[in-house]
Amino acid sequence: MSVLPGIASIAAMALYAAFFLHAESQAQVLGLLALAVVGVPVLARAGWVARTATSLEAHPLAARSASVAALAAIIALFHDQHFVMLMLASVLLYSVACLGLTVQFGYAGVVNFAGAAFLGVGGYTAAVLGPHVPHALVLLIGGLLAALVGSILILPILRTRGHYAALITVAFGILFRTFVEVNDALGGPQGLQVKGMNLFGWELNSPLKDLSFYANYVFVGLALAAAAFVLVRRLERSWVGLNLDAVRLDETAAAVFGIDVARWKILAFTFGNFFAGIAGAAYAMMTGFIAPNSFTFGDSLILVSIVLLGGLGSAWGVPLAAGIVLIVPEKLQALQEYRFLLYAMLVIAILLVRPQGLIARPARQYFPR
């Protein structure tokens, strides 16, 4: 399989993203959206989407380099625009969290409707520890604390299945928000200030040359997202990934072949929450402020809709879907008030029309050539 279709598609997407981010008037935005809504299914019919996917699968290094190059081009184009840089950094950090959810939801089948709560654990960790602890360590502790808080849920999740396990996470998400809202030590409903990130003496809130200071967070977000991507990929392409799939598809058959269902569910849940915690800590340091209202059920739904839109278990789908879900409502002012309506409709539409998501998860290749 040639590398060209993959590279060409990434270039086309980058070009589209640049036009979309650049579009000022609502007419331009709507026109570009209409182009995508009509054009992508046509290309899919013609087999281009599938060809892109197999091409990227077959050439992982080229795919990653091309994605990074595309991102670099967009950064160069919009380097001084705070808004665009903030969006890009958000997309990357949300990708980290959603890659975690992919492990839980896409691989092990453990649904998590409390993703925002685990982002929140990371965010509050950054707010409380930010002034006292080196920030690389804060990111790590944010992840570890999210994993630890998640362990409260392990027992009830292991004892329930399907909808009931999902309901437990919904309840936990609401519980978390209520907890931080009434907890005065954590700022109550007003929330807390968070110090900007400082990595080994590099103050991210002071801009490099004429770049927006958010560009610094794009770099950190890219590093985190790349690390998360590689880890999730390796996890999937291993015996562990196979165990997670076996648990999701048929617990009884898995148990009969020696697979410890509880062990792998715990691993996936903890792994995913760890990623969400790190992403939450970085995100809070970027925005400089957190409040309970940023961690509602609706915010958890955003994370779930990214995972579903990208394609369950599809690592490449995550950044693409994060871009769509986060950027489109920001650009369409008419929609801003109705964004949650949009997410809900998006989830329903995806489940009905294309349940495998934008980029369907390919068959496992342990060591692609």
Binding site: L249, D250, V256, F257
Partner: protein, 263 residues
């Protein structure tokens, strides 16, 4: 109907019972399977055959009695430990992971022999690669004994294959870890006579390479039972009503009543 104890019993169930509420699905069953033997299990629908497999593999709990497997008591053990002890099975209605590849499905059965350490899987990729190559060769060879064309499509989804190929994959999943006891739940279901015959020939070929492998086979196709089993047991309403060679069992008055009813 007595059998000389030539070798130790590999599996010996005594007084094994399973109840679902008021229903007695398995009623004080006694059954012995010697090492290397092929035992047929027959009986009308709902007579408790699959229930026996489920209780032996730890999917159901026994309400009473014991199932000894080479000195270990299986009742009360988890399905995972029973698998590790060397008992595998197939399911009556194929329970493959259909979206996963043939290789993945076979490797699920190979769980006992793979390294599942998180560190190894994430960061020791060259070690994992060697383990992968070794097991791919092993899975390929095993699948090829059942069907060479199937073995050439190891990375296609299991759901893309016909019934007979799925059954082959399922049997390979159960055989790949070289178990000591294989429980086959109606391997002929949904297949033609010719396909069943072919599958049985392949199975017997694999068995000749695995000395000491014992098989218990649930089957409605009597010619399969007659051909492969040296001994069979007949269940009805959760009880064993007859046991012996196929000819003995087929001539048994109670068995005829259970299958054909009384006048």
């Amino acid at each position: 109907m007595s059998f000389p104890k030539m070798s130790e019993a590999l599996l010996s169930c005594s007084g094994l019972s399973v109840r679902f509420g008021g229903l007695v699905a398995l009623d004080a069953l006694d059954l012995e399977v010697r090492s290397g033997a092929i035992v047929g299990l027959i009986g009308p629908n709902g007579s408790g055959k699959t229930t026996l497999f489920n209780v032996i593999t730890g999917v159901y709990r026994a309400a009473g009695g014991r199932a000894q497997f080479s000195g270990q008591d299986l009742t009360g053990m988890t399905p995972q430990r029973i698998y590790a002890a060397g008992v595998t099975r197939t399911f009556q209605r194929s329970r493959l992971a259909l979206p996963l590849s043939v290789f993945d499905n076979v490797m699920i059965g190979n769980h006992r022999l793979l390294n599942h350490g998180l560190w190894f899987n994430l960061f020791r990729r060259s070690g994992l690669r060697r383990e992968f190559e070794r097991n791919l060769a092993k899975a390929h060879a095993l699948v090829a004994t059942f069907s060479a064309p199937l073995a050439e499509r190891m990375f296609d989804a299991a759901g893309a294959f016909s019934m007979i190929d799925r059954r082959r994959i399922e049997i390979c999943r159960a055989l790949v870890s070289e178990p000591r006891l294989l429980l086959l739940d109606e391997p002929s279901a949904g297949m033609t006579h010719e396909e069943t015959r072919e599958l049985m020939d392949d199975l017997l070929a694999v068995r000749s390479r695995l000395p000491g492998l014992s098989i218990v086979i649930i089957e409605h196709e009597m010619n399969v039972i007659e051909r492969v089993c040296e001994r069979c047991a007949v269940l009805n309403y959760g009880r064993k009503i007859a046991e012996g060679s196929y000819a003995q069992v087929a001539a048994d008055r109670q068995v005829q009543i259970a299958y054909l009813g009384t006048e």
